[in-house]
Amino acid sequence: MPDDLASSLHAGWLRCTQQGRRLELRCGGDWILAHATPLDRQLARLKPRDIDSVRILLDDLDRLDTAGAWLILRSARVLEQAGLKVELADVPERYAPLLDKIHVDCPAFAGFGKRKPVEVATHGYMAFAERVGRGFCHAMSQGARLLSFFGVVCQETATVIVHPSRLRLATFVTQIEQTGLNALPVLGLLTFLIGVVLAFQGASQLTHFGAEILTVNLVSIAVLRELGGMIAAISVAGRSGSAFTAEIGSMKVNQELDAMRAIGLNVIEVLVLPRVLGLMITLPLLTIFANAMGLLGGALMCDFALGIPIPQFLEQLRGVMGGWQPWLGVIKAPVFAFLISMVGCFEGLRVENNATSVGRLTTQSVVESIFLIIVADAIFSVIFSMMDI
């Protein structure tokens, strides 16, 4: 016997016979989940006409599971609601308990699992206005919450300054290692390559004017004032800011934060301060390292490609590095560090009790901190230009 024939013999079937004003539905074979789709379709085609009672015969059933039982009972209920007298007949004894257990409440089932939708305008000017309004309110409340978090962190920082023993030294040092030391290879490579690219691109333009030597000025000013600090801050936002959110967020999902509070630990003091203070120490150091690597890349490129030997590069560099120049990038670093760690911890503490929110808020924390870094950098530029440095 071919395989499909064998399975068709076992598959659930439905036979209708009409006797006068009575319809007989004979269910047989396997009324199980695997056959539910064709049976459902067959039952949907059932359009009783000119009858006033239905008998559903079940003695030919080979197998019945909850899906099959549901189909039978739902059809019975639908026919009853059409004003017919419905009777289940010849129910095999072994299936009686199952049929008793199935609860039929068709209208309630139709809306099952649906949440009440929030009423929103979906098109036209109103929808646009509503989106803008919602976005604005969200941004405002987010800003207000961040500000209040900033206040709490400042308050705790003050406490730690008065009582230095309250600082969690072990966590603090671990944070410095993880956010600083472990970031060195990636950051070094990045800024080295930026220096190389900058020198090469700058030189190819400046040779037109016979001013190759100014490549040194270009590389050093770009790296020291902007690029070194920015690359360091952005890579730390991606590496460590996201880690802060994910760590604190998973702890929150796992109820560890509740446990801490119950034990009487201050969450801000234990989790947030070591991260904020640690990063405020490491990011300036990382910026100095990034600056050095950027200049190294630029110097090597000048030596290989432009024929400016390293001593001459250094000589030219000394001319550029007057006054504040070498420190402008480093000065900005603690502010960037503060923004990154604040946003990272803040978003971590906002995590709700499900896995998606960890991912969503981690993304949000990186996006927000990079945004804030760039805004802060622009503000610094304005301040520096007002101070003529």
């Binding site: 399975s7 396997d30 989940l33 695997a34 099952f112 499900n354």
Partner: protein, 268 residues
């Protein structure tokens, strides 16, 4: 009529329809250097409720994870419905997983989905039912485990521990499995909820014809629901009815079944 359903309508060849639902022979599992199961044998008959007890850290949960295939044994064979789990094709492997429903300790519901979507996950993955029928079957399962229908729209974090377990049970029952695996189903429930769960389990077991493999600590649950009990001791199993086990001379079994708590529970 030929069904095109991805859910195999037919049991794959080699399926044992009458023999034991689960048979474990010579099972050895190790965690690092520690031997957890030392040539363990266990047989669970069709349609029986088997309780597995043992001290903390004796490897009950590891046994459950090994049987459902989350863990590879170091030695020994595990047969489910006559299929040796180590030597089945991918297709039969998936079929076996569909024939077994698992309730993990805290429900292990997907936290980002509503309860209704949680129950529908296995149905959507393994059947080609219409969305309407899928939703209806999910509602039937939810009603079957005794949860009100409006629970369907809630997220797991909005439920109590007892409701999460029931919702987890509804998901385990989604595909009408033959075998139900339960990991500490009544742990952490208040006595009334635990009693309710015991009744529910017994009720479902008889009406759906389930075979149940249950890891538990709860002596009341054992008395209320199980046909036989297996005690995991020093990496091996001692199996029998509760009355038989009470006659066993092993000191741990004596302490377990004839201790003050158990005597109170079994005296009723």
């Amino acid at each position: 009529m030929v069904t095109l359903s991805p859910l195999p309508a037919q049991d794959p060849p080699g399926t044992d329809k009458t023999g034991p639902a689960i048979s474990v022979k010579g099972l050895v599992t190790r965690l690092g250097d520690r031997v957890i199961h030392d040539h363990l044998d266990l047989e669970i008959r069709r349609g029986e409720v088997m309780g597995v007890v043992g001290g903390s850290g004796s490897g009950k949960s590891i046994l459950l994870h090994t049987i459902i295939g989350l863990r590879r044994p170091a030695a020994g064979t595990i047969k489910i419905l006559g299929h040796d789990t180590a030597h089945v094709s991918r297709k039969v492997g998936i079929w076996l997983r569909m024939r077994g429903g698992v309730l993990f300790q805290d429900g292990a519901l997907f936290s980002s989905l509503t309860v209704s979507d949680n129950i529908q996950v296995p149905l959507r993955e393994h059947t080609n039912l219409t969305p309407r029928l899928t939703r209806e079957i999910a509602a039937v399962k939810l009603a079957l485990v005794g949860l009100p229908l409006d629970t369907g729209a809630k997220y797991p974090s909005e439920l109590s521990g007892g409701m999460r377990k029931r919702a987890g049970l509804a998901r385990a029952l989604a595909l009408d499995p033959d075998i139900l695996f339960l990991d500490e189903p009544t742990a952490g429930l208040d006595p009334i909820s635990a009693d309710g769960f015991d009744h529910l389990l017994r009720d479902l077991q008889s009406s759906l014809g389930l075979t149940v493999f249950m890891v538990t600590h709860d002596i009341d649950t054992l008395r209320m629901t199980t046909d036989r009990v297996s005690v995991l001791l020093e990496g091996r199993m001692i199996t029998g009815t509760i009355d038989e086990l009470r006659q066993d001379g092993h000191p741990w079994i004596q302490d377990y079944f004839n201790g003050a708590r158990s005597r109170a529970a079994l005296a009723i």
